[in-house]
Symmetry: C2
Subunit: 332 residues, 2 copies
DNA sequence: TGCATTTGTGCACACGATTACACAAACGTT
DNA sequence: AACGTTTGTGTAATCGTGTGCACAAATGCA
């Protein structure tokens, strides 16, 4: 590969080395382009020898297409989203698209962060986070061409969305718990401001209402194990509930630990505990959680389909609805 | 903000609107630039009105500085790295640097992926993954200017590294286990090809050797809960060991579950189980793992320091050594 | 052979910003 | 008032590719 620390060479320099013009270099790297195959082979050989690769930044400027995708997420470590993030990143990489992560957790200024990403002319935006208002995202990205993929249904021509319906699975789960004789339900929210949290809560509230019941108590955590633990202790002490529906799986595990260790109640006999998301960890032997689960692969398939629609310049927003299923464990 | 679906405007168009030249537009957005403050204020007002922001792609081309950072990771969901990834992303965002994730898991072609990222002229590369040979990374990125931050010490002027020393903590942990009367040790590796796995194993092997002991058995997993569970079953059936040192915390949890549920042995009395990484989940009440732990904040501080050295054009590679500590739980 | 068509290559400009240089206006000094 | 310095702005080149256009060479067809 020649000397170690050499500057990356440009198409013009390579052109000189190969005895052609820089336009021909460009064509050699463009698969469907009028160019002699002998010339192309020679150029590619010289390019390899000198470690030349076209500069994607310059190409993006010219193309008006960056092949960058902004992923707006709450956090990276959080298992709730992590499995989906992982899947999506793989699918993007297979399409030669590079993901830029925008992480909304903590106190970073989310709007400024999105504005920064938008200056990089990302081709697509996928919003996983429920901490950012979809309207803000539209305002910031609407000048670039990306369509935004999001859970939140928003009536806007630039937003494609994925709707999630867990009402059926919630009904099944409530049915089982009620038949097991539980009567006093509590809901442990992830965040009180999030619309997705309200949606999830509504699935279960409706299922209860159908049976003449309702949530006797409601607590607010932050999707973390610690908050699940802490809030469950309070719920069990103060409200004496015998069933806790949690906003995600991690809090459910925290709640289960709290019930067992602090209060001395075990699932599913003394108390029923339900998670949401269906993360891999929920199925671990030590957890074995009953959870309202979303098919991660189907979800990411849907995201990719929306992205491809957009890439193919199919106009207008599109919406896909996915249905959750109940995954049974020993906690309810 | 005016019409909804308008194309993003350019500095030249904004210049016409504000009655100045495009050079002046650029200066208005460059904090330390010779420009009248009245002009700047007027331009910024017009810019806000029309939703103008400088195009980062064009700026990068001119600057030779993209403000993009490539993060080479094994996987996103994997808790081992996730906490560090999360911390690093925040620190980068605070510096107006955008992270591009390169995910090496599964069967994607890691080299091609790194080549793709290198065409985006990333300013820095941080290699978390132990699935990629550092020499490959250097070969691919050496033409761009980034210094690579990595665990693996490599004698190359373009690589800064962070060395991790867990020998002291491993010694403490082995000491405790041996004094508890355990005699038959097994090591459960993450991957058999990884140099970092060999390093970790050596810390414990040395501590054993100091006491005239050695590993009676060795198994190979893939850092996942399932592999920890499965390999532990085999180890306990075939080799009858009474202490398992695991390559990471997640496998340790799997091994603990296997011992308890399949074999009927409990920690720490029947068997000692040790993890590595010190992830938050290890401290959860239901896990309470004894683990060889790395201070994640200190680690990311070190990464950021190396990045800043590089940004400040301080020449040459640099190396920082961090020391691990033992974190005690009820599994050993 | 003569002419129409295809193939392969170079020239020159565009993409959207930054910046060295030039220069006019405003300012300070004696 | 004369002159040197600072300040603010415009002009034009540059970053590295992609591509429409022009044109020469090669090919096909009668």
């Amino acid at each position: 590969m020649g000397g170690m620390n050499r500057r990356r060479i440009t198409s013009k320099e390579l052109a000189k080395l190969a005895g052609v013009s820089s336009a021909t270099i460009s064509r050699a790297f463009s698969p469907d382009s009028r160019i002699g195959s002998a010339t192309r082979d020679r150029i590619l050989a010289v390019a390899r020898e000198h470690g030349y690769q076209p500069n994607a930044i310059a190409r993006s400027l010219n193309n008006q297409r960056s092949r960058l995708v902004a992923l707006v997420v709450n956090a990276i470590g959080n298992p709730c989203e992590a499995e989906e993030q992982q899947l999506l990143v793989h699918r993007l990489q297979a399409r030669q698209l590079l993901p830029i992560i925008l992480c909304c957790a903590d106190h970073s200024d989310r709007l400024q962060l999105m504005r920064l990403a938008s200056t990089y002319q990302v081709d697509h935006v996928v919003v996983f986070s429920d901490m950012v208002s979809m309207q803000d995202a539209v305002d910031i990205f609407h000048t670039t061409k990306p369509i935004i993929v999001s859970f939140e249904p928003l009536d806007n021509e630039n937003v494609s969305s994925i709707r999630i319906d867990g009402s059926g699975a919630a009904d099944e789960i409530i049915d089982k718990i009620v038949r097991d004789g539980k009567k006093r339900f509590a809901y442990l929210s992830g965040t009180n401001s999030s619309w997705i949290d309200k949606l999830r809560r509504k699935w279960f509230a409706d299922a209860l209402a159908k049976r003449g019941l309702s949530f006797e108590a409601q607590a607010f955590g932050d999707y973390s194990y610690d908050s699940g633990f802490k809030e469950a202790v309070l719920l069990l002490h103060r409200n004496k509930v015998d069933a806790i529906i949690c906003g995600n799986d991690v809090m459910a595990i925290g709640a289960r630990d709290a019930a067992r260790r602090v209060i001395g109640k075990n699932t599913p006999d003394d108390i029923a505990i339900v998670g949401q998301d269906g993360i891999a960890m929920a199925a671990w032997d030590c957890n074995d959680l009953t959870t309202l689960s979303l098919d991660h692969v189907a979800f990411i398939d849907a995201v990719v389909e929306l992205i491809e629609r957009h890439d193919a310049e199919i106009e207008g927003p599109h919406s896909i609805t996915l249905t959750c299923t109940a995954r049974w464990g020993s906690t309810a």
